[in-house]
């Protein structure tokens, strides 16, 4: 018979068992840091340093070549007090953002729902709508410029049915609408794709049960589809609004911000001030104002999401 010695658990030395874990933990920490290093380095070099530099430059009058002159908050003061173009471009950007976001989400949701129900043709149309998203914006803009020119395809088509087409890009009342139309054509494919994925996650059983219980199409959409799709819709809303505030290529290539200032946007005005007008400090202050606006709107969206976004599956 072997008698085992009585073991006093309290007397057990804890350190020898824990030491390898701590060492392993430290080693894993170092490993994690190493893995993260390239990303963090890139974040530091390409995000943090430019961000801080931009803030510093916004306090200077700097014509790119020549010595920068410290002017404090003069650039910001000029923007708000003596630059009428700033308020115009801010207004244009807001109009674009609101119209584009509302129309984009409305059309995307409608088309995504339609594509979800048309069976085997769904993937074909999904790809069709997604093609503009993956084609370069520059190429799209140039094609649209040709289409919307006075003698372009659109006006030729209208002339075919006896309508004298307007100047889509040179009439200050139509130019912004033309840019929004072109942007929608380019942008809805992405949201259709994301919303389509969201719709696929909704259990058909729930909808069948609701149908059996007598719910009509609108009730099924309002009571089941919309709440279950709301996280996806929230994501699409946030991303679409952020993207719309950064609109640049469309006015740059289709209208140059004109006629007059009717399609000039914050980012185009920022680019012009920095690279065409040699006002790097002024451009940087515009960049910071845009940053603050986008941050505030995004923060507002996140603070309000509890009112309509349902995360309970």
């Amino acid at each position: 018979m072997i008698v085992l010695p009585e073991v006093n658990s309290e007397a057990m030395p804890a350190a020898p068992a824990a030491a390898p874990e701590r060492i392993q933990g430290r080693a894993q920490g170092r490993l994690a840091a190493l893995y993260l290093a390239p990303g963090m380095l890139g974040f530091l070099i390409f995000i943090i340093i430019p961000l801080v530099s931009s803030l510093a430059i916004s306090l200077y009058k700097w014509p790119l070549f020549g010595d920068p002159e410290f002017v404090g908050f003069d650039n910001y003061a000029s923007l708000f007090s003596s630059d009428p173009v700033f308020w115009t471009v801010l207004g244009n950007t807001l109009v674009f953002a609101v119209c584009y976001t509302v129309l984009n989400l409305g059309i995307s949701l409608g088309l995504a729902t339609w594509l979800h129900h048309i069976g085997k043709w769904g993937p074909f149309f999904r790809v069709l709508f997604f093609i503009p998203v993956v084609t370069p914006m520059t190429a799209n803009a140039l094609v649209w410029r040709l289409m919307l020119s006075d003698n372009g395809v659109v006006n030729s088509g209208l002339a075919g049915v006896g309508i004298h087409g307007p100047s889509w890009l040179s009439d200050s009342n139509l130019a912004m609408a033309s840019l929004i139309a072109m942007s929608l054509w380019q942008g809805i494919g992405y949201n259709i794709f994301v919303l389509g994925a969201g719709l696929s996650n909704i259990s058909p059983g729930l909808l069948e049960a609701a149908t059996i219980d007598g719910a009509g199409p609108w009730q099924r959409f309002y009571r089941i589809v919309f709440p279950m799709l709301s996280p996806t819709l929230f994501f699409c809303t946030v991303m679409t609004i952020i993207g719309s505030f950064k609109v640049f290529t469309q006015p740059y290539l289709l209208t140059l911000g004109g006629p007059g200032e009717s399609t000039n946007t914050i980012v185009l005005y920022l680019y012009r001030n920095g690279f065409s007008f040699d006002k790097m400090g002024y451009a940087s202050s515009l960049a910071w104002i845009l940053f603050v606006i986008v941050m505030l709107i995004t923060a507002l969206q996140f603070s309000q999401q509890k009112r309509w976004v349902n995360y309970d599956n």
Binding site: A27, P63, S167, L169, T255, N264
Partner: protein, 419 residues
């Protein structure tokens, strides 16, 4: 065992980081950047406008002509389209590995002043005699009393016209005393059957407005300051806008139209006349549907006065081998080279010695017109913020051409924004 595993992972992580860093470095580097601004390759590189094949072929003809005397000569070319050039040249020259040689227009030397190294000492050392060049060009290339570029052409703006369309309309060709009244009358007679009398770009300097104003002795800059709101100049710009919305002899351009759009209209025979520089001579005379002639810019009095805005080669202030860059400029600005380029492309040489070669390949009437304009030409002088003026005018002019805003309103807006 448990300690070996992280060690293995550490090695993997180091390897991964190294590969990532090398990949980033590889993606980020380019031949030009590697060479650095002081390297000799930068002294043999030129940043210039290359809007189309015509531009590329023109720059190549400088290189080809220089090679005849120095077979080892070479110059690498890079650059965006003409309208983008004035925006991009500054950022390009602020970056590492930037080309040492920069092209500039006489009028724009003022704007690029901080970018361009003064060349007086190098010119003196290389026995350059400024008196042998067109004086309007030397004046244009001199900023703050210092020469900033060696000009290669002295380009008086001209009116190109389609002789076939003039003949078909029963009109006489424009003379060297072409008046505005006759010009309007001709343009109206030519506007029919889907063909317009004139094609217009929306731009300022490459458009008709300053050219027409110059012809009447009105200039956009006075004593170094922007003077586009003076009533005479405003009247001339309004005259230009009225060609579309009142006289209906031209189609309204769009703000985003590059100059090529109006050039294509002319070359395809959709417009009978267009304004342009002699640098388009070869392209227009060989590619237009019909025979092309060159006329003076119409003026109220009929006195032929043209806006001279030729170009030249300067050296970037940041270039570390200015001597080598200047030596290269010398090779592409000899009378032989300029003459050969003028003969092939139409650029009017800035050196009197090269005029014979240029004139030899052109009809006598065209040569006579351009010589008259050279004699009566005035240099286009601009301001330091000219790119802003140019950009804003293009953006605003669309409404002027369509008649929804007056020249006075537009020019006031441009002047206010460009303060």
């Amino acid at each position: 065992m448990s300690r070996n595993l992280p060690a293995g992972r550490t090695v993997s992580a180091i390897a991964f980081s190294a590969v990532a860093a090398l990949t980033l470095a590889g993606c980020g580097s380019s031949g030009a950047a590697a060479s650095g601004p002081g390297a000799s390759s930068a002294a043999s590189a030129m940043y210039t406008w290359i809007s189309n094949e015509n531009d590329r072929s023109q720059w190549q003809s400088f290189i080809d002509a220089a090679k005849k005397t120095d077979p080892g000569f070479n110059l690498t070319l890079e650059g965006p389209s003409f309208p983008d050039y004035w925006t991009k040249v500054k950022t390009r020259e602020a970056s590492p590995g930037a080309p040492c040689i920069i092209t500039t227009q006489g009028a724009r030397a003022q704007e690029l002043k901080d970018l361009l190294a003064p060349l007086d000492d190098l010119a003196k050392k290389n026995n350059i005699d400024p008196s042998k060049y067109n004086q309007a060009m030397i004046q244009g290339m001199t900023v703050d009393g210092k020469l900033r570029a060696i000009p290669y052409d002295a380009a008086p703006f001209v009116l190109y016209y389609n002789k076939d369309l003039f003949q078909a309309a029963g009109l006489k060709y424009p003379t060297e005393n072409y008046t505005r009244a006759q010009f309007i009358s001709d343009a109206k007679a030519l506007t029919k059957n889907g063909v317009y009398g004139l094609s217009l770009p929306p731009q300022f300097v490459n458009g008709p407005a300053p050219a027409l104003a110059f012809a009447d002795g009105h200039y956009p800059v006075k004593d170094g300051n922007l003077d586009i709101t003076n009533p005479d100049f405003v009247k001339d710009v309004q005259f230009t806008f009225d060609l579309v919305n009142k006289e209906h002899v031209a189609q309204a351009p769009q703000a985003s139209d590059v100059v090529d759009v109006s050039q294509q209209q002319f070359m395809s025979g959709q417009a009978a006349m267009t304004f342009g520089g002699p640098w388009m001579y070869q392209t227009f005379t060989t590619k237009t549907k019909g025979t092309v002639g060159v006329a003076v810019i119409p003026s109220t009095s009929g006195n032929p006065i043209s806006m001279i805005q030729g170009s030249g080669f300067g050296i970037a202030a940041s270039c570390q081998d200015k001597e080598a860059a200047f030596a290269n400029i010398m090779k592409i600005t000899t009378a032989d080279v300029i003459g050969a380029v003028g003969a092939g492309h139409g650029n009017v040489p800035t050196l009197q010695a090269a005029m014979k070669a240029w004139a030899g390949t052109k009809p006598a009437a065209d040569v006579s017109t351009i010589e008259t304009l050279l004699k009566n030409g005035k240099p286009l002088q601009t301001t330091k913020n000219w790119n802003q003026v140019e950009t804003l005018f293009t953006q605003y002019s669309v409404e002027g051409f369509r008649g929804t805003k007056s020249a006075e309103t537009i020019l006031n807006s441009v002047a206010n924004s460009a303060k």
